[in-house]
Symmetry: C2
Subunit: 430 residues, 2 copies
């Protein structure tokens, strides 16, 4: 992974240095946590990629539940319980699924309680399978009682029970907090359970069973995902500012927010990474948005959304700090030499599409620089388990640093209880 900021972040090296220095004791603290290999501290998610017991537990659950007949793993979960999994899945496979519909196994996602999505999903599961060994239902909820997750799980399972009978419960894997309501109910019914450590918050849980089980179940190499995260943890615990992209990125976002640029545009020049952007949207919004402060993350796809919001970016309010994200590709897809419309845009004749994407990105950066719109740039070496694991870890550490700089607790989300309680109260009254 490359991280670029020089001449574009509009923050001086002295300012970055001063802010980085203020974090030196926190880096020290994180390095100690990293050595402990336990789940005691709020930052303990950084141990997940090193947790070999966890890894073996995932592999056992996989061996128990998954055969070559598998067609569908349904992830029933919302927010931190599915965003990381969806980020990795869509990047490696999901985004291209509409264009490649016959490749199995697939991950399917049920998050909000949309009746039509649940009907269509249940219909697919009951009409496109012959045997229940083709299905796994992975129900994921840290609290073990998330409203949407419980509702969707019950609605889907009733359809499966009607087709496959009571034994469908053997196709369930529960991922939840230890001793939560779901944990207890699953124990009683002998349903397979994977635990989520109490101190690992949903938005930091992608490297726990939350992400590792479904991603492993459909055949992704979760060991490479872990390795990518392990390497990046080392890099992002480096005390040397210039060698630590998480530290650099956090200080730049902080300084720009202080100067009024409180919208963080994640401008992703690869449509496969849109869900990765949405994963980060939760991470940034929920970790830092408190006590009247916070950055508002937005996710844009290049070049698509240049045709949608570039006008606003280039000539609107000066309230945005941009993170360009791209990935190298080795595709040879090209504009042919023998063309249907040979006289239109002759400059693209024979050019590779990847070079056209690069030219657009480079030119966009050039124009943003001229307009003094501050930006940093992240370049993934490719789109693979390893590069995605690295990116996820980079961003989780960036957010920990950012929380310290803002002086907020990056690990809680006290305000979300209000609408949840109001919803439950309303349902109880109905």
């Amino acid at each position: 992974m490359e991280f670029h900021y020089k001449d574009s972040a509009c923050v001086s090296d002295d300012e970055i240095k001063a802010l980085s220095s203020s974090l030196s004791s926190y880096i020290e603290h994180l390095r100690e946590i990293a050595e402990h290999d336990t789940y005691d501290e709020p930052e303990c998610s950084i141990f997940l990629p090193y947790d070999n017991d966890l890894y073996e537990q995932i592999i056992r659950a996989k061996e128990e539940k998954i055969s070559s007949r598998l067609k569908y793993v349904v992830v029933v979960g919302i927010g931190g319980s599915n965003l990381g999994t969806k980020a990795v899945y869509d990047a490696l496979k999901g985004h291209l699924e509409t264009l490649n519909p016959n490749q199995f196994p697939k991950l399917l996602f049920a998050d909000t309680t949309d009746p039509e999505s649940i009907s269509y999903l249940s219909n697919l599961l009951t009409t496109e399978t012959k045997d229940f060994s083709e299905i796994v239902i992975n129900i994921i909820s840290k609290s073990g009682e998330t409203l949407e997750t419980i509702v969707n799980a019950e609605a889907i399972l009733q359809h499966l029970k009607a087709k496959f009978g009571e034994n469908i419960i053997h196709r369930i894997v529960i991922t939840c907090g230890i001793d939560s309501p779901l944990w207890k109910s699953a124990k009683e019914q002998n349903i397979t359970i994977l635990g989520i450590p109490e101190t690992v918050g949903g938005r930091f849980s992608v490297m726990s069973a939350v992400g590792l089980f479904p991603l492993s179940a459909i055949g992704f190499d979760i060991d490479k995902l872990r390795m990518g995260a392990q390497d990046m943890r080392k890099t992002c615990l480096n005390k040397e500012m210039s060698e630590n992209p998480a530290l650099l990125s956090a200080t730049i976002l902080f300084k720009q927010a202080k100067d009024g640029r409180t919208i963080n545009t994640n401008f992703i020049f690869n449509p496969r990474l849109e869900s990765l952007g949405k994963w980060y949207r939760q991470l940034l919004a929920e970790s830092i948005g408190k006590n009247g402060i916070g950055l508002t993350p937005t996710v844009l796809i290049g070049s698509t959304d240049l045709h949608s919001v570039a006008q606003l970016h280039l000539d609107g309010p000066k309230d945005k700090v941009v993170t360009f994200i791209s990935a190298k590709t080795d595709s040879n897809e090209s504009v042919p030499n023998e063309r249907i419309f040979p006289n239109i845009r002759i400059e693209v004749t024979g050019k590779k599409l990847s070079d056209i994407v690069s030219a657009t990105l480079e030119s966009t950066k050039e124009v943003y620089k001229k307009k003094k719109i501050p930006y940093t740039e992240v370049v993934l070496q490719n789109i693979s388990e390893s590069s995605l694991g690295a990116f996820l870890q980079f961003k989780m550490l960036e957010i920990m640093y950012l929380g310290k700089l803002f002086g907020v607790n990056a690990f809680d989300q006290p305000a979300v209880e209000s609408y949840k309680t109001a919803t439950i109260d309303r349902l109880k009254q109905e």
Copy 2:
């Protein structure tokens, strides 16, 4: 369509009245344009749903190109050339496609020059069809030389030519500006052409051939789409403020932006409408984002993104004005009475999923109101051609009023030329 704002928009009726009054001569102007039925003025897109010549031209092109064998219509276009079409398609069909893969015909979209998307798309078209009558390639570009559109069209067509031969050009429909480079080249080769009036900008063009041809080609009732827009045009040209939702919405967005709430969150409580939100994102960003002012639109899905950004919304900076969008549904999908986990969330036992969505939306509004986060609410009667046509027209007129209030030209986008020119220059040098 319902529009609600009382007690929630945090703008007094007197303020709304004063702002509305300032627009009375503009409403008069729009009403005159509406009577003229020509394409002279920048606002002339409001004539499109009434243009019967256009409608007949679409029907003729459809009769010429489309048979019952049709499987795929590929929309090759970007920004204003595909966002409206994608909004309607995803709402009616596209969003549920992954869960309902065997229903044809389908729309496929090629916008950015992503090499892998284009390879997969071309592979699908050549392996999943037997005959070229199963395919239509609709190339859409107002300028007739949009970089991404030309690149993608050439890349896709080379693969189709390799399988189907030179005659593949008879499966092309070009939608472009009259006398543009694409128009001329298509004329020379006897390719079917549909024109876009010079004065209709991309983001206002969904009711032109840009949207109507592909939506009609795959069997949607574009007459109902037009009727929905026609009815809404009448409503949104009403001089009586309280009867005119476009006027109300524009004045509220304007007043809130003046008070520092420059982020417009479109919080959509139905995942099928996400692309409709993205269509509006361009409409708002590109029309109003100029001269240092502008609102930044964001698109969120409820309840999914409550689990992602609610913390930021409820306890972060006071910079957001929210538009809740939902649609009534008649689905009976429910949580069963005989449950797998009967003791968890007993309040949902036997409840309809649509009622759970409603309870979540109502509770969210209740909490936003308590926190004094200003919002308006749009409720569609259902998701149909008619209700979508109405919504599209509502928002296009809202933006015209908003442009007037801000004193900006809502119909140009001068800043986007910079990155386009820089990209072309770079490609010429390579």
